[in-house]
Amino acid sequence: MSRSNSSLLAPHSENEARRPPRQHRKLPPGPLDYSRRWWMRLPLFLVFFFLYAPMVVLVAFSFNDSKRNIVWQGFTTDYYVAAFNNTELMEAFINSLTIALMNTVVATLLGTLVAIALWRFRFRGRAAFEGLTALPIVIPEICMGVAMMAFFARIGWPTDLPWPVNLVKITIAHIAFSFPFVAIVVRARLSNFDRALEEASTDLGATQWQNMRYILLPHLKPAVIAGALIAFTLSLDDFVITFFTAGPNTITLPVKIFSMVRFSVTPEVNAASTILILITIVTATLAMWLQGRSLMHPLRSRQTE
């Protein structure tokens, strides 16, 4: 260090030396300072334990080298191979994906249109319509399942249709309970739509359709995608409603897994379940990420192009 430099620094360091070291007082914990009170951390721990431990065990035991699958015997991926070679299981899986995809397309379209209609228009019975739309979310799934079964039996829905038309029955049931979720997500996004954007668009000469196409839909895009992913996961892992509407030739993955479990919990079941969990987690995470972005300030959220 050069001389001038050190002389410049000298008064500064002297100052530093004279100043007493900063003392931080240790503050007593606040009443809801959960990170510092064990009795507040305990319930959190218990919740996470009961929520995730079973799933961790399920995933771990899908790699267990044992037919009975009670005691850990050693690591293997044999049961994933077995699951993929199980034609009935694979058929069920393909059925599930087909239903989920058909459901996603229709439920997303329907849900988005319902949300726009409820947001945009004032009409007679609008409040009742809004309430009825949300009903499938609160109605017990078992009731809806039984109702669907009775309904399809009553109208005499044909049972001997060829694949994939025979999946339409389940798909209709899935659309009925999943489109309100899409509507809710899209509706939330609509509530922070700046109507001035629409007016500006009209002012610049756009028609109603052009407003929809160039202004409203781009704004709704993240919410529509999030809604679609929610509809997809809801359909993919639905058991109760599917159970009541499925026929012998239209078994889905959750229904198939249920019937396999009734005989014995083999690692094959674990493997199939793990795959289902994986798909669900990936889509759900994507949905939440997109929805989180969609609820941000409109100016802040750059649409994914």
Partner: protein, 374 residues
């Protein structure tokens, strides 16, 4: 001077409003508005919030339809035409820049929806961006822009449509003071460069007075007075306008006698006064009238002022509010009310020239006084 309230005769009327009225439920937002706006004019609608100025602007844009009356543009009735079919464009208060489009896409939007050809559109976008000095920001997204830049996008987006009339809804209210001043100059420059009629809505009188050729002052849905800024300030005809624009000393008096060009009024505590008026006939049959004088026209002196034509009264300084370049002096006139005078602090001094309790003379030229209707 009064004649300035009528716009130049050689300028063609572009926009003509007759009896325009807008009612929301049982609330009358705009009532019987009659206006003629000339081609290439910078016209301001000024008034307090809720006076109906924005509703009037939205009727010009087509977002609201008048319940009564007509709006003619270039001689054609467009009272009930939808916004997308009017040769009128608007700059919104919130700018309403499309957040999912780049600056260039925003500006090009009006041409895209109209189906203008690609090469023509490209040239016009380039031209519009240069006009508002955004040509080097063209590929930015709106959230990368400052408030002032966003406003330029909104301007370019409206101007690219080559409107007959450009409507601006409180365009400067969201900008900070420095930027506001720059943008005021910018708007005046644009208007001269383009030769388009500008109609601006504002609650800021400085904005209206400094930019506009003519100003319509609105209150309670009605137009109170339409005049050039100078006329509006120096010759307000109604009490509301006198009070709303700038500062004003108002006092009411009893009408003693009426002459062709002046009124004799007796003001309680001040005695008889004579005030000039352009048209004394509107005061026919009136007993009470309002007199007014601007604070900067009132001079405060220690000695009795010279000059035959000056109205003079003695009083006591009640309060002095110091603003640096000037002071507001409040003087309680003997046997009467308190009057406000502006005193320029022309010379530097170490202690105040006036203190509360000082005996002073207040005086003003008789012809600086105003008589106000209602």
């Amino acid at each position: 001077m009064y004649a300035a309230s009528e716009h130049n005769a050689d300028q063609r009327t572009i926009l003509s409003l007759r009896g325009v009225t807008k009612v929301f439920g049982d609330f009358t937002a705009v009532e019987d508005v009659n206006l003629d706006i000339a081609e290439n004019e910078f016209f301001a609608l000024l008034g307090p919030s809720g006076c109906g100025k924005t509703t009037l602007l939205r009727m010009l844009a087509g977002f609201e339809m008048p319940n009564a009356g007509t709006i003619h543009l270039d001689g054609k009735d467009m009272s009930l035409q939808p916004p997308n079919r009017r040769p009128v464009n608007m700059v919104f208060q919130s700018y309403a820049v499309f957040p999912h489009m780049s600056v260039r896409e925003n500006v090009a939007y009006g041409l895209k929806v109209a189906g203008v050809g690609r090469s023509e559109a490209r040239d016009r976008v380039e031209e519009a961006l240069q006009l508002v000095k955004l040509d080097n920001q063209a590929d930015k997204q709106p959230d990368q822009l400052s408030g002032g830049q966003r406003q330029r996008v909104a301007l370019a987006r409206a101007l690219i449509k080559r409107p007959r009339v450009l409507l601006l809804d409180e365009p400067l209210s969201a900008l900070d003071a420095k930027l506001r001043e720059a943008m005021q100059m910018e708007l005046v420059r644009l208007r001269h460069a383009l030769g388009i009629t500008f109609i601006i809505v504002t609650h800021d009188q400085d904005e209206a007075l400094s930019m506009a050729d003519r100003v319509a002052v609105m209150n309670d849905g009605q137009v109170q007075q339409v005049a050039a800024p100078l006329t509006l300030y120096e010759y307000p005809t109604r009490r509301f306008v006198a009070d709303f624009i700038g500062k004003m000393n108002l006092f009411s008096g009893r009408l003693e006698s009426r002459h062709e060009d002046r009124l004799d009024v007796r003001v309680a505590g001040l005695g008889p006064m004579t005030a000039p008026t352009q048209d004394s006939s509107i005061f026919e049959g009136r007993e009470e009238v309002d007199l007014a004088v601007r604070p900067e026209k009132v001079r405060v002196t220690a000695e009795a002022p010279e000059g035959e034509s000056r109205v003079r009264r003695q009083g006591t300084v009640k309060n002095v509010a110091y603003y640096g370049d000037m002071s507001y002096v409040f003087v309680t006139l003997d046997g009467a009310f308190t009057i406000n005078a502006n005193v320029q602090n022309e010379a530097r001094r170490n202690d105040p020239a006036l203190r509360p309790g000082d005996r002073v003379w207040c005086s003003w030229e008789a012809h600086d006084m105003l008589v106000l209707a209602d």
